[in-house]
Symmetry: C2
Subunit: 187 residues, 2 copies
């Protein structure tokens, strides 16, 4: 199974807050840990954390350094391996450029969200596209109350929302990442 | 889809630490939040947090109260709904008795773990058993480095481990809960 051309990004801006206003969220330490470990387990090539706030990126880089090269790297070698996938960027366009530099092509953008409607890709359909190997794919996750419209408009595809047996649907973004990566790449 | 007779529990003892010694872990605030939200989304009837340390249970109960009845209940009503599923217990036997009190029968125990071997149930097979409605089912998750042997020995079934495309397999327990509940009850 090839996940060679598959990337994920966690956006802290532009996202909605709980009142539906476009806003910027803070980088959460637990997101770095949980999502890096999921990304490594499911063969994701790179996990981008996107925030326009330089001080927050600097703090996140300190955390990444601790587990990559500091005391954490010998205390927990499996964490070191997961953190090797993490990259901090200031905006989505920097992510697209970074992937273009690595593989010579900008990625197709796939957005996620609990309330996405319209034509959506199933996990099987997206897996097939990635495995065709023609283009790199970037799966975007929003913090707060989800990705802002201006990001949704830039997407090439929408990923089918996760839904349980009832109406209630308030998963942490960490859980959404785990579930969608398992649907795509779990054995 | 009926998940009426389906329960989960997160055990903080007896579990292995990273050196393979049987130990007790601390209750983590993030586990309460993330797992309660997943449990509510996927129709789990009750989410038990098991710790033998009374002070830790008391602290966790304070947190649950905040989101259930305190300021958090009006600040975030969807969190209130998720936290309504949470129950603190001192040991696995108390969980079994609580379920027996509720439905008149002790549950069948299903254990999870990244390194489980031997005969394991797939999600489809477990779903079928739960839906047959004969018995309540309790899915157990271990913190630290997983459930201790004395717990595994008490299980009626083992749940097929999650596996990505490669060898690496170090998911946070929060991610494992999200993935297995989605495999069982996701649409």
């Amino acid at each position: 199974m090839s996940t060679q051309n598959f990337y994920i990004a966690l956006l802290h801006s532009p996202v909605y807050d709980k009142k539906g206003r476009v806003s910027v969220t803070s980088i959460a330490n637990i997101d770095i840990h949980d999502i890096a470990r999921c990304a490594r387990t499911f063969g994701v090539k790179r996990f981008y954390i996107v925030s326009p706030i330089a001080e927050q990126r600097a703090l996140a880089e300190k955390i990444v350094f601790h587990w990559q090269s500091g005391f954490g790297s010998t205390y927990n070698p499996s964490r070191k391996e997961a953190f090797a996938l993490v990259d901090l960027k200031g905006a989505l366009d920097e992510v697209l450029e970074d992937i273009a530099c690595r593989v010579g092509k900008k990625p197709r953008i796939v957005v996620t969200g609990a309330r996405l409607a319209g034509e959506c890709l199933s996990a099987a359909a997206l897996r097939e596209k990635v495995q065709s190997g023609e283009d790199p794919y970037l799966l975007l996750f929003g913090t707060g109350s989800g990705l802002a419209e201006e990001i949704l408009e830039r997407a090439h595809h929408r990923f089918e929302p996760i839904q349980g047996p009832e109406e209630y649907n308030h998963l942490p973004v960490r859980a959404a990442v785990a579930i969608l990566l398992d649907r795509l790449w779990g054995k």
